[in-house]
């Protein structure tokens, strides 16, 4: 099948076949196309390797202000010689008649011995027929001439004189057909279009890439038998810390890590039995005076565990798989690896069969579904689980093991005061870290910059 060409391309090719070397201006004349059409046509043909564009530059000369004056009135030295034609003249008279060019004309004439001068008078010595430069001056006149059209020897004198000659550098493009274009077949059909040409970009409306990861993770949890629960981002310290066995004087509760809400205090934080038993557990195990006002302080949840534990305390299930997913907050300096607000997911398994190995198995399945197969488990510490493990996953790009989700069994010091009798296994962690791996980002802030350049270009499935 013959290649399809745009009408513009066809006209240019035909014109170049007739006259193989043309400038764009010449093509405009020969094809009757507009300068813009010619420009585009040449660009397309160049991309298809059908046209060659050679660029060259030449100098073009025209007369400057003094050159034009000399063209009209004669060179200053010619004018001087003309005045002396009829015999010697007084210097003062010549000065008056020649004005500003008197000096330069005298200088040149004396240097070349055309004149003789005594103290008062000037007379001709020998008057040449043609003065240097005169021919060129006439040749150029009001025109612009290129180097090749001018006697360069004659020009050089003029070039050294101020504002006689203006030199312009002109770039010219010359277009020729490439070998492959010389015998190409130009179809006559008019309905065809160039299906190989580039087309403009359109931007796809889409969900946010981080939201895609969140939705993907939510779906995996559901597939693994977990049901989603929702809860508030603002929580009392009781559910964010106390119920999770974090002592009130613990450094983790301090302002530097936790966002406390200014002058916000919860009136009702739990049932009186919950409050009594949690406080007793703290007093007994941590040996300090538990203060209910501390537990009332409202915070932005530092983990979704506050939602999970509240749900478990309310429902006290014998058997359950639930998860909560949402924003959590840390009072940290924002950097390429830290945000003050990020997403976390946390699943819990309640039941008599719930064991650490089972939880490890669920996690292995989870990672497999997000495309991570190389994982291992290391022991770690969380204040509210015992034993506690963390998952390490191998990142091929970084060539190292990185920490992802944490997991563990809720401590009896957490569950017992809240009346939860069955073992509760929990696992979860930050979602942005997974999304960063997925979208190959090095700066976590990109997720919340809403930079259209990125949102319009990030690939959905990676």
């Amino acid at each position: 099948m013959s290649q399809v060409f745009h009408d513009i391309e066809k006209k240019i090719i035909i014109s170049l076949r007739a006259n193989p070397k043309q400038t764009p201006e010449m093509l405009e004349k020969s094809t009757q196309l507009s300068p813009d059409q010619i420009r585009r046509g040449i660009e397309w043909l160049k991309l298809k390797d059908l046209a060659l564009v050679t660029e060259s530059q030449t100098s073009v000369f025209s007369l400057g202000k003094n050159g034009t004056e000399s063209f009209q009135k004669g060179l200053p030295e010619r004018r001087l010689l003309n005045l002396l034609q009829n015999g010697p003249r007084k210097i003062s008279d010549l000065q008056k008649e020649l004005g500003s060019v008197f000096g330069p004309s005298m200088g040149l004439a004396r240097k070349n011995n055309w004149i003789e001068a005594n103290s008062e008078q000037i007379s001709i010595n020998k008057s040449p027929l043609d003065l240097p430069g005169e021919k060129t001056l006439k040749l150029i006149g009001n025109k612009k001439l290129s180097k090749t059209e001018i006697d360069f020897n004659d020009l050089s004198g003029l070039l050294s004189r101020p504002d006689f000659i203006v030199e312009d550098i002109i770039k010219t493009k010359e277009i020729t057909l490439s070998d492959s274009a010389k015998d190409i077949e130009l179809s006559d059909s008019t309905g065809d279009i160039d299906v190989e040409a580039k087309v403009p970009e359109v931007f796809v409306a889409r969900t946010h890439p981080l939201k895609d990861t969140i939705d993907e993770i939510r779906e995996i949890f559901v597939t693994l038998g977990f049901s989603e629960i929702l809860g508030n981002m603002t929580q009392s310290s009781f559910w964010n810390f106390d119920a999770l066995f974090t002592p009130q004087d613990h450094p983790a509760r301090e302002l530097q890590d936790t966002f406390y809400l200014d002058k916000m205090s919860a009136k009702k934080i739990g049932t009186s039995e919950q409050i009594r038993k949690v406080s007793e557990s703290h007093k007994k195990n941590w040996r300090y005076q538990w203060d209910i006002n501390e537990a009332r302080k409202m915070v932005l949840r530092t983990h979704t565990t506050s939602v999970t534990i509240k749900h478990l305390a309310e429902t006290k299930p014998d058997e359950a798989r639930i998860f909560s997913l949402g924003r959590v907050f840390r009072n940290e300096k924002v950097s390429y690896k830290h945000l003050v607000e990020f997403n976390q997911v946390e699943g819990v398994v309640v039941g008599k069969d719930a064991s650490l190995r089972n939880l490890m198995g669920i996690q292995r399945e989870f990672y497999k579904r997000i495309g991570i197969t190389k994982i291992k488990f290391w022991p770690t510490f969380f204040p509210y689980t015992e034993p506690s493990l963390q998952t390490m996953v191998y990142n091929e790009k970084l060539g190292k093991w990185i920490e992802l989700f944490g997991m563990g069994i809720f401590r009896p010091e957490v569950t017992r005061p809240l009346g939860i009798t069955k073992p509760v296994l929990a696992w979860g962690g930050g979602i942005e870290r997974i999304a960063m791996l997925k979208y190959d980002l090095n700066d976590v802030r990109e997720f919340y910059n809403n930079n259209l350049g990125w949102l319009r270009s990030a690939t959905k499935c990676q």
């Binding site: 049901s227 058997e319 798989r321 190995r357 996690q363 488990f377 034993p387």
Partner: protein
Amino acid sequence: MPVVELSYTRLQKLVGKVTKKQISDSLPFLGLDIESENKDSVRIEYSPNRPDYSTDFGIALGLQGLLGVKTGIIKLNIKKSNQYLISVKPAVTKIRPFVTGIVAKNGTVDDKTIKQLMAMQEDLHFGIGRKRKKSSIGIHDLDKIQFPLVYTTTNRNHKFIPLNSEKEITVSEILSTTDVGKDYGSLLGQSSQVPIILDKNQNTVSFPPIINAAITTVTTKTRNLFVEVTGLNKDDAEDMLSVVATILQTAGFTLESVNISGMKNSSPKLESKKISVNSSLINQSLGLNLNSSKIISSLKKSRLDAISKGTNIICTIPSYRFDIFGPMDLVEEVALGYGIHNLEPTLSPSQTIGNTNPVSVKLKSLDQTMIGLGYLEALNSSLTSKRVLYEMTNRIPSTIISVLDSKSQEHTILRDSILPGLLENLSRNIHESYPQKMFETGTVFQYDDPISEKINFSGISAHKDANFTEIKSMLQSALKIGFGIKIETKTVIHPTFEDGHCATVILNGKTIGLIGKINSKTIENYKIRIPVVGFEVSLSDSIL
């Protein structure tokens, strides 16, 4: 997480016959994260519940267990001595009532050991010491101290040469001029009396919980040490002491007892405790089927002792392991000794059926509808600033919910509206091609004794022909297709929107939001150079 820097050669010497590789492979399975490695030195992160891992001596004990070089409990051998006496005066009772201590003799400390001991001290202060409030520690050169000592109080004009200083200054000066004084002075409150430990010749040994005296400074020439811990409660003080005693004994010192008396104080015993755990709890929790002898050998690898009695395992726990509260902590010790890498994951079929929350389902379908309408989803922080939320949109705040001491100026208050964030997004994308259409659904916060959280839905469209009709058509279709509801609009005036191009959005007679053309003042504030229309409606009460 605290960090400690170790040397492999030193660790190898302390652990016994093991290779460098065995050590580096085993560290993570003690719960120690390798932060970085450089030839012989390795920086590791340890958990705050294991202050014994703040020195290489403590880590070596753990490695010996895990690698099977030496297993079982580390017994403290404390020689009874009557040489060292501390008497406690009634004046301290109301300020810092307890003191405890121990003597460690005939050891050597090199620069590295001193550095580690200092680091351990700081970690103990931070963790179980709760920033020195609950308990604090002082390690001294024993030979510079004349016993008996007295733990009493003194006034703020009391003078001595504090650590790292050359001249005598008063307690008040210490509190107002030194770093530690400024950091921890508040622990002493306004009381005119402060705690002090004085020796036989009335020389100051320590001014707890702030600073030691310079004279007792530990150097590489020190051979004998005196350790004192003061605190608000006896058990916490002794817990802290037990960590230091264990480390010093491991470092080659011989421990001798200190006699303490007065005001409910007594000599520390640093005795081990016994906790019983049923082997079925262990096996059920881990998903294993270990017999008693395997459980016992695993516990021993975790440097504990245990015997079996029927199905129960009776475990002996040294005093420095005060992170062990009860049976579940022993389950973890079994898991660690057994080796986490030996736990094979299993996947048992789920007995439950998973469900997405109905709210999430509805929001997701709204997302799909908006995409169909050509809108791109944006995500903004719920924690934002007064500038974005109010100043730029000319809105007057009612009750602002702010966070205390935010480290970032851009994140100081909770949003009560989503639209300002989207406008901010437009202002950061003025170099990108138009039309720009974005939407966001998310939580907004309102004061409601204390706070109510609602889900709002907002969208904006920016291009040269953007107008009210366009955005109303869009919202009308989105809510009709998304939720099968029909909205009406009624004219209103709002500081963010242009007069005559702004309306409330009404659903079943109830106002649920605002819609209109953003006025030129707001557009200019955001430095946007193209017309913008937008809306925001609440989904929580009437739609979700």
